[in-house]
Symmetry: C7
Subunit: 70 residues, 7 copies
């Protein structure tokens, strides 16, 4: 079983996405592709201690992603 | 449904684009391609607290993009 | 014998994964692919001296990986 | 319509090019390719508050480009 | 003769591997591939003056490698 | 006309090459390829205010290049 | 004539190799490939003012190279 197959188990669930540079996102994983481009809904951005809600869908570019966890 | 399909829903709407290095842009998403090269119109650049309007269309190079949100 | 063949010996065992930017993860290696995308279960994130447990499976993007060791 | 098609509208017009690392250029866009390699004429380099005129044509490597705007 | 052919002369010998970001490893080179993914056994990690032994085999991702020397 | 065609006009002429990380080179452009790997002769390296002459031909790796100007 | 052809003129001669991150190497260029992976013999590493001799052959990964000069 491959990593991206396992990521399918997180579809439509809330995930934490950490990106290069230190910003993180929490949101519902609505879609992803093989580059790890991600679409999050009901997302909020966490930059150190500042939490900013992001309305609608947020697309995170795959090559900015460090890890994705529940 | 794939991430870039979802991005089509943001076409001709106002988006926030965060880039590596900390600069962000707000503008109307007029076009994008599979590399996430983006064209924004009526854009303004936000660098920390400084907001600079950018006349005409601004092209943001895809590999500079961290995320795109409404 | 190639590096990724040797990594198969670590499947389902506890590993330490160091990423660019300084964060590390400890967890059970459940899956990997040729890009070194990794899936860890029972993972904890180690950022300097702060250890944060991560429930469920954590996917670490391959191009963030510096090294993987037992 | 794709981003690079829209960039054709800026050909032979004055543009601002911001690069990774903070340097920017102002000049007339004489040519570009699909990597966003750019040729600027009558260019000046802007590094913080220092403006340096660059005689002749300046070639900016595409993967250094963050954005291009009028 | 190509660089990777010469690296075969270091197989099963002790090498020093310097990675981007400043961490280095000393260990026996058990395997490598064309991306310079490396497997080291009996490895120790050297981060400035701190030496940490790493049990078992350590896989270093090729694109983190700066140089490999005896 | 494409950017690299225009660069041919600088062949055998003195150019300034700025690289990522802040070092620059002045020298005669003897050769280049499509990756923007460059060969400079009679080159000098400029690192802030320190100018170091480099005898013979200097090869600058293309992906280090930010811009090339006369 | 292409950049890598010109580099053949430096084969078996002493070169200076500067890498991203500031470390440099002096040594005899024994081999290179099209990625600019380099093999140096009788090498010494120069990190600011500290010179460290490196016995045997040192392989420098191509994508760490900024420039190579005599």
């Amino acid at each position: 079983m491959k990593p991206l197959d396992l990521l399918e188990q997180s579809l439509h669930k809330r995930v934490l996405v950490a990106t290069k540079g230190g910003r993180s996102f929490r949101g519902v994983l609505d879609a992803f592709d093989q580059h790890l481009n991600l679409v999050l809904s009901s997302a909020e951005e966490v930059d150190q201690d500042v939490v900013t809600p992001r309305a609608g869908v947020t697309l995170v570019r795959g090559d900015s992603v460090v890890y994705i966890s529940p």
